[in-house]
């Protein structure tokens, strides 16, 4: 590899790390992606000058076609659909790492056992990340509504995984004949699918983050195989960062990662749930508007329902009106509200909510007792006080937003059903809680009109 290419790779690695660092603070985040992008562009251009390459026509064709598709789809996707788009692009990366391994294995990469083992490991991880991410995408996109569970599923998954490992060992130690490679890849892809099928939508954020980390690792391993320092560094950095991010998310949900992957939400309900006491008390939009217009402090708690209703713009309009009237408005965001950590932040940012009005769980929880009105829109499990009180509940122990401590609680909700996890929400039955039934966007519009009229 020429010195020029090596130098550019080194610069690219530096740019990636600086870019990621800048992305981890709101003030510099916007510049961060540009730094990383510059690194990517430089590394890609430099690669064309790697000595001994051919097939440039195919290479450019693939770049133009793939780049075009990804550019258009990335520009068009709605902010609410971001999570599945990230899952999809991540899957592509994993697939690419696996495909590199396939080429190298078929071609024969010598007999260095370390290189062979790393190639096979990268292939396994990349393929699992590829097919798993595609299933996650299909689930979030709504193409696959049900979580598939059947008897002795765990045993089947374990069996397929064991078979994959056996073929992997054969591949690394005995022969790299094309049919062994093919069977190995089919099995590895099946592992990803089988692993992701039984995982419910509520756990998808953690799963996507995990696959993101895995892709990073696969890229790093293939970097070792190809002797490519840029891939090793960038892949490893993402692998480590992604692992930490996955842990942060799992901790926010109070669910160990093993539990997400091998336990199953909802299947826990062998435990009898405590009957919830009290009744659901509906309220009109006009009454809610009065309550908020004359409040000192209003806390708005968005959840996935807001994303579905696309209500973020209306909610911010409502908040601005309240602010103009002198009401203190803040937004409270649970770490796992929505389908991705920070999903709500992105949507609120899209609507133009300044980030200094948005507060994390730890920041806002002491404030709830001072709030006159807590407006919950489309959030459910993350405000369910059962997580504090009922040890039998599947969400027991998960930190929640203490919405129930506000003086008045208004819940905007489509219907009377339970939350994503299927758990009855005790908050809705409390004396200081009122239910505003309807579509989030319609209700927000009504509230805006009503507040205007005062």
């Amino acid at each position: 590899m020429s010195a020029l290419v090596q130098t550019v790779y080194f610069v690219a690695a530096v740019l990636f790390i600086v870019g990621l660092k800048r992305m981890s603070s709101p003030k510099t985040a916007r510049g961060g992606i540009v730094w990383a992008g510059a690194g990517m562009l430089a590394a890609t251009l430099a690669t064309f000058f790697t000595p001994g390459l051919s097939n440039f026509g195919l290479m450019i064709a693939a770049i133009v076609i793939g780049g075009g598709i990804a550019y258009v789809s990335g520009k068009r996707v709605a902010m609410t659909d971001m999570p599945q788009m990230i899952a999809l692009y991540n899957g592509m990366g994993g697939g690419a790492a696996a495909a590199i391994a396939a080429v190298e294995l078929i071609k024969g990469i010598g007999h260095d056992p370390v290189v062979l083992v790393l190639a096979v490991l990268g292939a396994l991880i990349g393929a699992v990340s590829f097919s798993g991410s595609l299933v996650a995408f299909a689930k979030l996109q709504g193409w696959m509504k049900r979580t598939l569970r059947f008897p002795s599923q765990q045993a089947l998954n374990l069996g397929v995984f064991a078979a994959t490992v056996v073929f992997g060992i054969v591949l690394a130690a005995v022969t790299q004949s094309p049919w062994v490679v093919a069977v190995f890849f089919i099995l590895a892809l099946a592992v990803g699918v089988l692993m992701t099928l039984p995982i419910g939508g509520a756990d998808m954020p953690v799963v996507i983050s995990l696959y993101n980390a895995l892709t990073g690792l696969a890229v790093a391993f293939e970097g070792f195989v190809l002797n490519n320092a840029a891939m090793i560094i960038a892949g490893t950095v993402v692998g480590a960062a992604g692992t930490l991010l996955t842990q942060l998310m799992a901790r926010a949900m109070n669910r160990p990662i093993s539990n997400v992957l091998f336990g199953s939400f909802g299947a826990v309900s062998g435990v009898e749930e405590e009957a919830v006491e009290g009744s659901l008390k509906p309220i009109d939009a006009a009454d809610v508007a009065v309550m908020m217009a004359y409040a000192n402090k209003v806390v708005i708690v968005p959840g996935y329902g807001m994303a579905v209703a696309q209500a973020q713009h209306k909610i911010w309009e409502l908040a601005k009106q309240l602010i103009d009237r002198g009401v203190k408005v803040s937004f409270a965001i649970h770490p796992v509200a929505g389908r991705m950590p920070g999903h709500m932040n992105v949507l609120l940012a899209e609507a133009g909510v300044p980030y200094d009005l948005i507060f994390d769980l730890e920041e806002i929880n002491p404030d709830f007792p001072n709030a006159d009105v807590a407006l919950v829109i489309g959030a459910n499990d993350v405000v369910n006080p059962v997580a504090r009180t009922n040890p039998d509940s599947p969400i027991y122990g998960m930190p929640i937003l203490d919405v129930d401590k506000a003086k008045n609680v208004v819940v905007i909700k489509r219907g009377k059903g339970a939350g994503f996890s299927g758990i009855e929400n005790a908050l809705f039955y409390k004396d200081n809680t009122r239910m505003l039934y309807g579509d989030g966007q319609d209700m927000a519009t009504k509230l805006i009109q009503a507040v205007k009229s005062f």
Binding site: G37, A43, A70, N227, G235, V237, L245, P341, V346
Partner: protein, 97 residues
């Protein structure tokens, strides 16, 4: 050429770097950061280009082509969605509200 033990050092240091970089990130940036790191592993593109560039048989060319195709989608798509997300982060001072 990267020798075995040097590669291991690179791996170890890069892992620490990744861990530290994310260390104290506010929840508000979790999604963009996940998306950003998703973009960064799009560097797999350079590997895919090398694999395709060295491909000889038809099968190698096909798989290599698929590798480049997938990798470039990772990189370009990851960049576009991350940029769109980060574009929206403004403080109330900047937006004048």
């Amino acid at each position: 050429m990267i020798e075995g033990i040097t590669a291991l050092y690179i791996f170890m240091l890069a892992a620490f770097t990744g861990y530290e970089v994310i260390g104290r990130v506010p929840v508000i940036l979790h999604t963009p950061l996940m998306s950003g790191s998703n973009f960064v592993h799009g560097i797999v593109l350079v590997g895919a280009m090398v694999a395709l560039g060295h491909a000889e048989t038809g099968a190698e060319q096909v798989i290599g082509f698929v590798a480049v195709l997938l990798a470039v989608m990772n990189a370009v798509g990851g960049y576009v969605v991350t940029e769109r997300m980060l574009e929206m982060f403004k403080s109330s001072k900047e937006s004048g509200g």
